[in-house]
Each structure stands twice: as C-alpha cells, then as structure tokens.
C-alpha cells in the first residue's frame, strides 16, 4: 500500500462533508488535484502567462517552453517515439471524435466494419455510430463474458478483412476490467485495421507504453490523473497523423494562408487550431511529475490491493452484488455494485450524508447497463490518496443504507 502521507498533498481532502471527514471515492469520474498541480497552474498565470509560438518577447518564450516541455513529459509518460505524435486536446472525447472524423472519414467506406465492445463508454460508441451512419459502414460489438471480461476468441470472430477500425477501452470505467490491448492490437493489425485505445481509465492507473502496445491511436484525459480539466491527449503514430486532415482550422495550425488555399503546419501543431490549452498542458505536466514520483507500478499495486480489500469487505454485506471480474488483480481500483433492492441514488445519498462521495447512475455506459440487466449501479473508485480506512467508512455507510431502507 502507498503511504498515507500522499493524502496530505491533496488540500481538498482535508474537509468535512455533512459533518464527517470527506472520503472521496469518485476518482473514476474525476480525480482530485495535488498541491503541486494547483501551484503549477497558479504560477503559470502569475508569472509566465503569454500566448505560445508567436511572441518575440520573453514571456512568450517562457510560456512556449513550458507548453512544449509538457508535451515532452507526456511523450515520456506513454513512451512515444516523438513529441510530434502528442497532440493536446480537450479530453478523451475530443480525441476519439478527432480520430473518427479525420482518420475515419478518410478511410472507412460503405460496408466496412468498425469493431467496439459492449463495455465502452458513450464517448467510444457514439463517434463510431455517427461515422458508420454517414458512411454506410457496419458497427460491430464484441460481447462480454459474465464476469465482465472480453475473450480474445470473440475479438477474432468479430474482426475481419473488412474491419478498418478497432476501438476498445483499456480499463473499463464500470467493471474495472483491464482489457488485453496488446493482443487485441495484434488481431486488428493482422486484418489491416487500426487500433484505437480509449485510455481514459488507464492513464491514471498503470504504466502506458504505446510502442509496446503497438496501438495506432491512444486517447486520455488529464483530469482523471491528477491534472486539470479541459486538457487531454491524442497520441497517434506519426505516419498515420501525417496523412490525416485537421478537424479544426484557424490560427496556430497554419503554415501559409492564401485567399483560396492554405497549408498546414507540421505535426503536432496542425491538429492544434487556435490558442492551445497552455495552462492545462502545464498542469498535466505537473500531474505526470507527481504520478512518476510515486511510480505507476506502485499506483497500480495500491489499487489492486484496495480493490481486493473493498471486494472482500463489501461481499460480507448480505444482498450486495459486485459487477466485473472476481479477481481483484484483473481490475483497476473500481468497484461497481448494487445493494439489494436499494436504488443506487438512495445509496449515494446516504453515503453523502456520511461524507462519502460515490457515483450512482449509468456511468455513461447505457449499453453496458443493459447488458448487465440493471438500470443503474453505484460505483466506488479508488486512487492514490485512498486508504483502507476509506474502505471501512464505505462499508459502514453501506450498512447504514441497508438498515435504513430495509
């Protein structure tokens, strides 16, 4: 387990909610921010704020250095070959939409296939639905096993020579399942398809290595990994990005502009139209520093351990159902559950009254809820700052909820 000292880096956690010390178990929705990320944002605005890539003046140079420095941190964080492959965007949703609208529109035709799974987040479903409708392509879903995992054989059945894109989440935001992305990428490539990875729940929790995975695109968000909201990353292989058209046009992304024709800057800037998300990128860089100081391997182990403790203690509550893989080692620190017939909203309200923040609802995964045959669930998600005491508070809160409603 990680040191409890880590908690002290997060000023927000030091408060009472409804008369109880806050236990924050909603990090899969958004994580809290350590002081050093808050300081990085503050310092940028206080000392270095200027637009990037255009100022001759000193502040402009400083802002550019910090912004491009953050790009290098991201490159190292996911082990990309070049910073040209790192594009700053608003978040995972924008990154996935960009792949669909740029790569997808140019490469998917009538009768071609796009393969996703039943566990995807809405942001990795709807961009492909829209693309499939526009192009007359076929959207195929790989079904799940009852324990919330994906069998590679079912991926092999779904992916054919007509498949142009396979897009799958690395870690499920509901089930916590860690999908075998490397093996799925091999299957996609064997059929000439590109592999898109929704890394929103993976980047905060485990070491990413895009060269080892060999995926073609990877999308993730800063705010789930201790960074600010409004910043995310699209990684793409250089040879693919070079052949793709930008989705947004305007300032910052152009080379020469004529009256009727224009040309684009080189990578990665051709995809960063307008004044970029400078403070956000710098904040993300600070978040990466923070996570790397702890170590992603340590973070992953910490979450497996908390998930294991939570699953064991929660299972002791009569009538409580936990969804997803039974093996805590096969899941990230996400435990989604239902407490008998007590509706998840009521569970979440009871917990909130006791200072515990969890998510309740469909978690932006309506097709998955349908597959699990429930309209809603409650979710506790753990991160670096959570402790075994937090699990105990959760279990105590659940017992109160059960007693109150039964």
């Amino acid at each position: 387990m990680l040191s409890k000292e880590i908690r002290k880096h997060f000023p927000i956690l030091d408060q009472e909610i409804n008369g109880h010390p806050l236990v924050y178990l909603d990090s899969a929705a958004t994580s809290q921010k350590p002081q050093q990320v808050i300081d990085a944002l503050n310092d940028y605005y206080k000392f270095d704020n200027a637009n990037v890539h255009r100022g001759v003046h000193t502040l402009g140079n400083r802002a550019t250095d910090h912004y491009e420095g953050a790009r290098e941190k991201v490159r190292k964080f996911i082990n990309a070959k070049s910073t040209q492959e790192i594009i700053f965007m608003r978040g995972t949703t924008t990154a996935l939409n960009t792949v669909a609208q740029s790569y997808g529109r140019a490469n998917v035709g009538e009768g071609d296939e796009i393969v996703i799974t039943h566990m995807e987040h809405h942001s990795n479903i709807i961009p492909w639905q829209q693309l499939a409708k526009e192009k007359g392509a076929v959207l195929k879903y790989v079904d799940l096993e009852d324990d919330g995992t994906i069998l590679l054989d079912k991926v092999r059945e779904a992916v054919t020579d007509r498949t142009k894109i396979v897009s799958i989440m690395y870690v499920s935001n509901v089930l916590g399942t860690m999908n075998p992305i490397k093996e799925i990428t091999e299957i996609a490539h064997a059929h000439g398809a590109v592999m898109v990875v929704d890394g929103a729940q993976a980047a905060p929790h485990l070491k990413l290595d895009v060269q080892d995975l060999d995926c073609d695109f990877l999308a993730f968000s800063g705010h789930k990994m201790c960074g600010p909201t409004g910043i995310g990353v699209l990684y793409g292989k250089k040879e693919l990005l070079n052949n793709m058209e930008p989705v947004e046009f305007g300032g910052e992304m152009i080379d020469f502009v004529g009256l009727y024709e224009s040309t684009w800057k080189e990578l990665p800037w051709k995809f960063e139209g307008g004044t970029p998300i400078i403070a956000g990128a710098i904040g993300l860089g600070a978040a990466i520093d923070f996570l790397e100081e702890i170590g992603l391997d340590q973070i992953e182990r910490h979450e497996h351990q908390l998930a294991a403790i939570a699953m064991e203690k929660m299972s002791a509550i009569e009538g409580l159902t936990i969804y997803g893989p039974k093996d805590p080692g096969a899941r990230a620190g996400i435990v989604t559950f239902n407490l008998g017939n007590v509706h998840p909203h009521d569970v979440a309200t009871v917990l909130d009254m006791n200072g515990i923040a969890v998510r309740a609802g469909h978690h932006c995964a309506q097709p998955l809820m349908k597959r699990l045959e429930c309209s809603a669930t409650a979710r506790a998600s753990f991160y670096v700052y959570n402790t075994e005491e937090d699990v105990d508070r959760l279990v105590e809160g659940l017992r109160i909820a059960k007693e109150y409603f039964e």
Binding site: N18, G19, H20, H343, P344, H345, D346, T349, V350, M353, N354, A360, G361, H362, Q366, M369, S375, A376, E396, G397, I400, Y404, F405
Partner: protein, 146 residues
C-alpha cells in the same frame, strides 16, 4: 455516523409510498400513455392515464428509479385522480415551485406531496422527484410554465 440528516429527505410518508406504491401498474383502459426517462441517471416511468371530458379519471404508473422518484410518482397519481386537467397542471406547477425552494400557495392542500419539500435541499435529487410530474404534464398536453 447518524441518520438524522437522512430523515429530512426520506420522511416516513415518502418511505411509505416507496414501499407501498399507490396506483402501480398499467391502466388497461387508458387513452394517454407517456414514457419518460431521466438520461442523467437512467430512471424511467411508464404512465397511463384515462382522461374523459377534461378530467383525469384514472392514472397508473410503472417504472424504475430511486425512492424519491417512485414515491413522487405514487403521490402524483394519487392527487390528480378525478381532477380536471387545469387542476392537475396547477399541482405540477406548485410542485415545480416547491422543488425550486419557492414559497408555495398554502391555500392548496398538498396532502402527502408536502413531504417531498425537503428534496429542494438536495439539488442532485430534484430531477428524480420531478420525472413523474413532467410525464403527467406532457400527457395532459400542458407545457410547464418553466
């Protein structure tokens, strides 16, 4: 930990309607059917009404949702029965004001509904409480003044 704060929200009348919902089911002889959902949380309601000569003769509901949404649906069907559309809509408006924490006309007898006034202090739960009322308003063809 305590449950005192919870009692402000989950008053006994609400829990009674939740555990023993009135007018649960599907009205066979209905002429109005409304399906509505709350996309942020997945709550659903299937409301059937029998409206004759501008009067709601009968009402039943089925649905899936939390205690607040289901209790609210139960109370709603109870109070609009045998009321004319104008009165039913008026109740919906009063209910909406109540959820916004506004002063409500105390000349109107709200019956059990008054128990839901505590929901106004729980902003995340207001949409749970209003779902059935929105469905009813849509059903009787009156848009809320909201």
């Amino acid at each position: 930990m305590s449950t005192n704060n919870l009692d402000q929200l989950y008053r006994s009348v609400i829990m009674d309607h939740y555990k023993n919902p009135r007018n649960k089911g599907v009205l066979e002889e209905n002429n109005v059917t409304i399906d509505m959902n709350n996309p942020t949380c997945g709550d659903v309601i299937h409301l059937t009404l029998k409206v004759e000569d501008g009067i709601v003769r009968d009402a039943k509901f089925e649905g899936e949702g939390c205690s607040i949404s289901m209790a609210s649906a139960s109370m709603m069907t109870q109070i609009i029965k045998n009321k004319d559309i104008e009165t039913a809509t008026k109740y919906a408006h009063i209910f909406s004001d109540m959820m916004l924490g506004k002063e409500v006309d105390d000349s109107v007898d709200l019956g059990d509904i008054e128990a839901l006034s505590g929901v106004a202090k729980f902003p995340a739960r207001i949409k749970c409480a209003t779902l059935a009322w929105k469905a009813m308003e849509k059903g009787v063809g009156e848009d809320s003044k909201e």
